[in-house]
C-alpha cells in the first residue's frame, strides 16, 4: 500500500460503494424494507441493503490488496468503509439541509433518520462513519480467517438473514402444523427473528457448516454396485416425485398460486430455451404466442358473446396449440434470413403488433378489446373440476412434464444438434447439409407450441384474458429466467423460474423493484457469468475456452469489473 495510485483506487472503490448505497436509498429499496426486521429490534433489511454495497466494496478491495499483513488489510478495509460511509453521510447531510423530496420522491425525512440509525442528525452521521469503518475492518478480519471458519460464518449470517426476511411466509405454512408453532414463536418476534432465535440459528447453522466442511475431506467415496446405484437413483427420483406432488397440499393455496405462476413461466421458459438457447434465435416477441394461445382458448371456450364454438377445455387445447404453432411458422418464415439484433427487434415488433391488434377497436367484436374475454372454461375430468389453484397445479405440472420430456429428448437428437450447429455458424451448418429453413422453422414452432400451452394454462388459471397481460415485459421475464439459469440448460430454466418468478412473488416488498432487479441481474450475468447459474456443459466449456484463448484481451478490464458494476 505504498504507492499513491493504490490509495486513489481505494478511495475510488469507497466512493463507488457509497454511491451505490445512495442509489439504493434514492430508488426506495432501503425504505421499502425499512420495517422488515431481520433480527427484531436490532437490524432491518433496509439497513442491510443500505450498507451492503459498502461492505461489498470493502471485501473486494481487501481481497484485491491480498496483503499478508493483517494490519494493512484491516486499514484497507477501514479506509474503504470510511469513504463509502462518508459518501452516504454527505448525501444524508445535504438532503437534511436542502429538501430534495420534490424531485427524488423517496428521499423522505424517514429515510434520512433510518440511515442515521434514528439518532439525532449530528450524532447519527458520526455513528454512520463509525459503522462504515467497522464494516470495513470486519470484512478485512473475516477475510483473514481460515477458509473453513469463514465459510461457516458467512453461511450462518446468510441463514439468519433469509430466515428473518421470510418470517411471514414461514409463518403462513407453519401455522398449519400445530405443535411446531411453539418453536416458531420462540424463534421469531413480531417482525424478524427474536434475539435468542437469531443466536440459535447462527450457532446451529454455523456449527453444522463448520462440522460439515471438516468432514468432507476425510470421507472416502462410498463404493456402490450398479444395482445399488440404480436403487439409489430410483429412490431419489421417487422422493422428488412425492415432494413435488405433495407440494400444494402441504403449502396451501397461497403458495400454490405462486407455484402455478412459476410453473407457467417454467413451461414457457422451456420453449424459449429451445429458440434462444438451442437454436440461438433471440426472440423478443415470445409473448405473442402466449397471447395467441390464451386468446384462442378464451374465444373458443367462453360462454360470452365473443365466444365461437363454446368448446370444453380439452377440446379447445388442440386448436389453441395449432394456431400458436402456425403463427410461430408465419413469424418464422419472413425472419429466416435475419440474424442476431435484427431478429430480436422484428420479433419484438411482432409481439407488439399482436398486442396492438388485440387492443384495437377494429378487432373488438371478436376479441373483446381492452375488456378482454371472460368466463373461460376450466379443465375437468368427469365431474372433477380443476377449479382452484391447488388442483390446477397438477395440470400445469403435467404440462411441464410433457414439455420437459420433449425438451430433454430433443436436446441430443438429430434436430437438437442441428439447432446448435446453426447457432454456432449458420453457413458452416448449411454446408454440412443442414436444412436451414426447416430447422429454424421447427425451432420457432416448438417455441410457439410451449408458449401457446403456457398461454392456455394462464387463461384457464385466471379465467379471463386481457390484453394488458401480454406486454413486452412478459417476454423479458422469460428471457431473463433462461439467461439467469443458463442458456440452453434445462435445469437452468427451473432455477431461473424459481429465482425470478417465485422470489418476487414471495416478497411483496420486491414488487416495485422486480424489473429493476431483473435488469441488473441480466447485466451482471452477462458481465460476470454469461453461462448462467446452472450452465449447459458445452457452453461452459466454450466460454472458458474463450478466456484461455485470449488472455491478452484487456486483462485490466476483467480485473476492474467489480468496480464497474459499482459505477452504475
Amino acid at each position: 500500500m505504498e504507492k499513491k495510485s493504490d490509495w486513489v483506487k481505494l478511495v475510488k472503490n469507497g466512493i463507488i460503494g457509497g454511491g451505490l448505497s445512495v442509489l439504493l436509498s434514492v430508488i426506495g429499496l432501503v425504505q421499502a424494507f425499512e420495517s422488515s426486521y431481520v433480527i427484531s429490534g436490532v437490524i432491518t433489511m433496509g439497513q442491510i441493503f443500505a450498507l451492503s454495497p459498502i461492505l461489498f466494496e470493502c471485501y473486494l478491495s481487501v481481497r484485491k490488496a491480498s496483503t499478508k499483513n493483517t494490519l494493512a488489510a484491516l486499514s484497507v478495509g477501514g479506509l474503504v468503509g470510511f469513504v463509502g460511509a462518508a459518501v452516504l453521510a454527505i448525501f444524508v447531510g445535504i438532503s437534511h439541509v436542502i429538501n430534495i423530496r420534490n424531485v427524488l420522491i423517496n428521499v423522505s425525512p424517514d429515510l434520512l433518520s433510518l440511515l442515521t440509525f434514528r439518532l439525532p442528525m449530528a450524532i447519527g452521521l458520526l455513528v454512520l462513519l463509525g459503522v462504515g469503518v467497522i464494516i470495513g475492518v470486519i470484512s478485512a478480519a473475516v477475510l483473514s480467517l481460515p477458509a473453513r471458519f469463514r465459510n461457516a460464518l458467512t453461511q450462518a449470517i446468510l441463514y439468519v438473514i433469509l430466515l428473518g426476511l421470510f418470517r411471514d411466509l414461514i409463518f403462513t405454512v407453519i401455522i398449519r402444523w400445530g405443535f411446531v408453532q411453539y418453536a416458531f414463536l420462540w424463534l421469531y418476534a413480531q417482525s424478524g427473528l427474536s434475539i435468542p432465535g437469531a443466536i440459535f440459528v447462527f450457532i446451529v447453522v454455523g456449527g453444522l457448516t463448520y462440522w460439515r466442511l471438516g468432514r468432507v475431506k476425510k470421507e472416502t467415496p462410498v463404493k456402490r454396485t450398479k444395482q445399488q446405484q440404480s436403487i439409489y437413483q430410483w429412490g431419489t427420483r421417487a422422493i422428488i416425485a412425492i415432494v413435488v406432488l405433495s407440494l400444494p397440499l402441504v403449502l396451501g393455496s397461497y403458495f400454490s398460486e405462486i407455484l402455478d405462476n412459476v410453473g407457467i413461466y417454467v413451461l414457457m421458459g422451456l420453449g424459449l430455451n429451445i429458440v434462444v438457447g438451442f437454436a440461438g434465435l433471440l426472440d423478443l416477441g415470445y409473448v405473442a404466442f402466449y397471447a395467441i394461445g390464451a386468446y384462442t382458448l378464451g374465444v373458443l371456450t367462453t360462454t360470452e358473446a365473443v365466444g365461437l364454438l363454446h368448446l370444453s377445455f380439452w377440446a379447445a387445447i388442440p386448436f389453441a396449440l395449432v394456431v400458436a404453432v402456425l403463427s410461430g411458422i408465419i413469424l418464422g418464415l419472413p425472419v429466416l434470413r435475419m440474424r442476431g439484433d435484427y431478429l430480436a427487434i422484428v420479433t419484438l415488433g411482432f409481439g407488439e403488433i399482436i398486442r396492438i391488434l388485440v387492443l384495437s377497436d377494429w378487432l373488438k367484436p371478436h376479441l373483446g378489446g381492452s375488456e378482454g374475454v371472460q368466463q373461460i372454461a376450466q379443465p375437468t375430468i368427469g365431474s372433477f373440476v380443476f377449479g382452484d389453484q391447488q388442483r390446477l397445479y397438477y395440470v400445469i405440472l403435467a404440462g411441464i412434464l410433457i414439455a420437459g420430456f420433449i425438451a430433454v429428448r430433443l436436446k441430443d437428437s438429430h434436430l437438437g444438434r442441428s439447432w446448435m450447429a446453426l447457432r454456432e455458424d449458420e453457413d458452416v451448418a448449411q454446408a454440412m447439409g443442414i436444412n436451414k429453413v426447416a430447422t429454424k422453422l421447427l425451432a420457432f414452432a416448438m417455441g410457439a407450441l410451449f408458449s401457446g400451452l403456457g398461454g392456455v394454462l394462464f387463461a384457464t388459471k385466471i379465467g379471463s384474458v386481457y390484453p394488458q397481460s401480454f406486454s413486452f415485459i412478459v417476454s423479458i421475464n422469460i428471457l431473463s429466467l433462461i439467461i439467469i439459469g443458463g442458456m440452453g440448460s434445462i435445469p437452468g430454466v427451473f432455477i431461473g423460474g424459481l429465482a425470478l418468478v417465485g422470489l418476487p412473488l414471495l416478497l411483496s416488498q420486491f414488487t416495485d423493484f422486480r424489473y429493476l432487479i431483473y435488469g441488473a441481474a441480466l447485466v451482471a450475468m452477462m458481465l460476470y457469468r454469461p453461462e448462467g447459474l446452472a450452465p449447459e456443459a458445452r457452453r461452459r466449456l466454450e466460454l472458458h475456452e474463450d478466456r484461455v484463448e485470449v488472455p491478452h484481451e484487456e486483462p485490466a478490464t476483467v480485473l476492474k469489473t467489480p468496480g464497474e458494476l459499482g459505477g452504475k
Binding site: 442509489l23 434514492v26 430508488i27 426506495g28 429499496l29 420534490n102 424531485v103 427524488l104 420522491i105 423517496n106 433471440l282 423478443l284 418464415l333 419472413p334 434470413r337 435475419m338 440474424r339 442476431g340 439484433d341 435484427y342 430480436a344 427487434i345 422484428v346 415488433g349 411482432f350 407488439e352 403488433i353 396492438i356 391488434l357 387492443l359 384495437s360 377497436d361 377494429w362 429453413v437 413486452f472 423479458i476 428471457l479 439467461i483 416495485d512 423493484f513 424489473y515 429493476l516 431483473y518 435488469g519 441488473a520 441481474a521 441480466l522 447485466v523 452477462m526 458481465l527 454469461p530 485470449v550 484481451e553 484487456e554 478490464t557 476483467v558 464497474e564 458494476l565 459505477g567 452504475k568
Partner: protein, 353 residues
C-alpha cells in the same frame, strides 16, 4: 432457364412475396377508397403531414444515437430509448420550477435553452455511463451478449428512474409564446410543430457537420470503417466511442425536449415506442448512415401520422390511429425483408441482416 428459376425460388420467397403483395394491396386499395370517400379535407391532410414531419424530426435525433453507435460498434444500443427518457424526465423539474417562478414565460428562450441543456446533459451522462459499465467490458463478446446486456440495462434504467421520480406521469408546462398558429403562405401551421421541425433540422445539420468535417468526426468514421486499423493510426478508439455515445446521448436528450413540446407528458416508460420507432427509422434509412437516419425518420413520421388515416379509413376500420404503432413495426419488418440495407445504406448493413 425455367428450371433454374424454379430452383432459385423457394417457398420462403413465395410466402414473403405474398405478404408483400397483400400489404401493398391493402395500402393501395385503402388509399383509393379513403380518397374516394372524401372524409378528410385537404387541410386535414396538410395538418397530418406537418405533424408527421415534426415527429419525423424528433425520431431523426433519436435515430442518430442508434445509427452512430451501430456504425462504430455494430451493435444495437437497446437502452438508447432510456437515454432518451432520462433527459426530459429529469428536466421536467427544472421546467416546472422555472414555470412556477414565471421565468419560463418572461424569458421563454433562455428558459427553453436551460431545460434543453439539462436534458441533454443528463442523457449524455447516462449514455456514457452505459458505455463504460455495460458495453466496454463486452466488446469482444459474442454478438448476443451485449444485446442482452442492453436489454437488461434498459429495464434497469427504466425502473431506476421510476424509483427516482415516481411511477406517475408528469406534465410539462406550456409556454405561452409557443401556443397558437402561424400563417405561412396562407396555410395555418401550429407554431410548436414548425419550431420542433426547424430545431430538429438544425440539430441534424450540426451533427452531420460534426461527423463530416471535424477531426473527431473523421476519427469516428475511420473507427467505423476499421477499428484495428484506426487504432494503429493512433486514434484513441475508446475516446471515439465515448464521444459517439456522448453525442448520441445529447442528441437524444434534445430530442426528448422536442418530443415533450409535442406531447407534454413524461413518465418512466415514455422511451419505449419512440426508441423502437427511431430504430426502425434508422434501419429504414440504412443503419450506420447519418443522412439515411434523417430520411428514414421523416418517412416514418409521415407514414405514422398520415398512414393510418390514409390506408385504413377506407377499409372501414374504426379508429385507425390506434394502429399507428403497428404500422411502424410492419414497416420495420418489410424493410428488413425486402431491403435490409435500407434506403441509403449499402456497405455496412450488407453482411449483417
Amino acid at each position: 432457364m425455367l428450371r433454374t428459376l424454379r430452383q432459385r425460388i423457394t417457398i420462403t420467397d413465395i410466402f414473403i412475396w405474398i405478404i408483400g403483395l397483400a400489404i401493398a394491396g391493402v395500402v393501395i386499395f385503402g388509399t383509393i377508397r379513403t380518397l374516394e370517400g372524401g372524409r378528410y379535407s385537404g387541410g386535414a391532410w396538410l395538418d397530418l403531414t406537418i405533424k408527421g414531419l415534426a415527429l419525423g424530426g424528433v425520431y431523426a435525433l433519436i435515430a442518430m444515437g442508434y445509427t452512430m453507435v451501430y456504425g462504430i460498434l455494430k451493435m444495437i444500443n437497446f437502452a438508447h430509448s432510456e437515454v432518451f427518457m432520462s433527459g426530459p424526465f429529469t428536466a421536467v423539474f427544472i421546467a416546472l420550477g422555472l414555470s412556477n417562478s414565471g421565468f419560463l414565460n418572461r424569458q421563454p428562450i433562455i428558459g427553453l435553452i436551460i431545460i434543453t441543456l439539462v436534458s441533454a446533459a443528463v442523457s449524455m451522462t447516462i449514455a456514457i455511463l452505459l458505455e463504460r459499465i455495460c458495453y466496454r467490458p463486452l466488446r469482444t463478446a459474442p454478438r448476443l451478449v451485449p444485446l442482452i446486456t442492453a436489454i437488461g440495462a434498459s429495464f434497469f434504467l427504466q425502473y431506476v428512474f421510476r424509483g427516482f421520480y415516481g411511477s406517475g406521469s408528469k406534465g410539462y408546462p406550456t409556454i405561452d409564446i409557443l401556443k397558437g398558429t402561424w400563417h405561412i403562405f396562407g396555410i395555418e401551421v401550429f407554431k410548436i410543430q414548425l419550431i420542433v421541425l426547424a430545431s430538429a433540422i438544425i440539430m441534424m445539420l450540426t451533427l452531420y457537420a460534426i461527423v463530416q468535417w471535424t477531426k473527431i468526426g473523421k476519427a469516428m468514421r475511420s473507427v467505423s470503417e476499421d477499428k484495428e486499423a484506426a487504432e494503429l493510426m493512433g486514434i484513441d478508439v475508446d475516446r471515439v466511442i465515448v464521444f459517439t455515445f456522448g453525442v448520441g446521448g445529447a442528441s437524444a436528450g434534445i430530442a426528448g425536449i422536442l418530443y415533450v413540446l409535442l406531447f407534454p407528458v413524461v413518465n418512466f416508460y415514455m422511451g419505449f415506442f419512440p426508441g423502437i420507432k427511431a430504430f426502425t427509422a434508422a434501419v429504414l434509412g440504412g443503419i450506420g448512415n447519418v443522412p439515411g437516419a434523417f430520411l428514414g425518420s421523416i418517412i416514418l413520421g409521415l407514414l405514422e401520422s398520415v398512414g393510418p388515416n390514409l390506408f385504413l379509413t377506407g377499409l372501414g376500420i374504426p379508429s385507425p390511429s390506434q394502429l399507428k404503432d403497428a404500422i411502424a413495426f410492419i414497416v420495420l419488418v418489410l424493410i428488413l425483408i425486402f431491403r435490409p440495407t435500407g434506403i441509403l445504406g449499402e456497405r455496412i448493413a450488407q453482411d449483417k441482416a
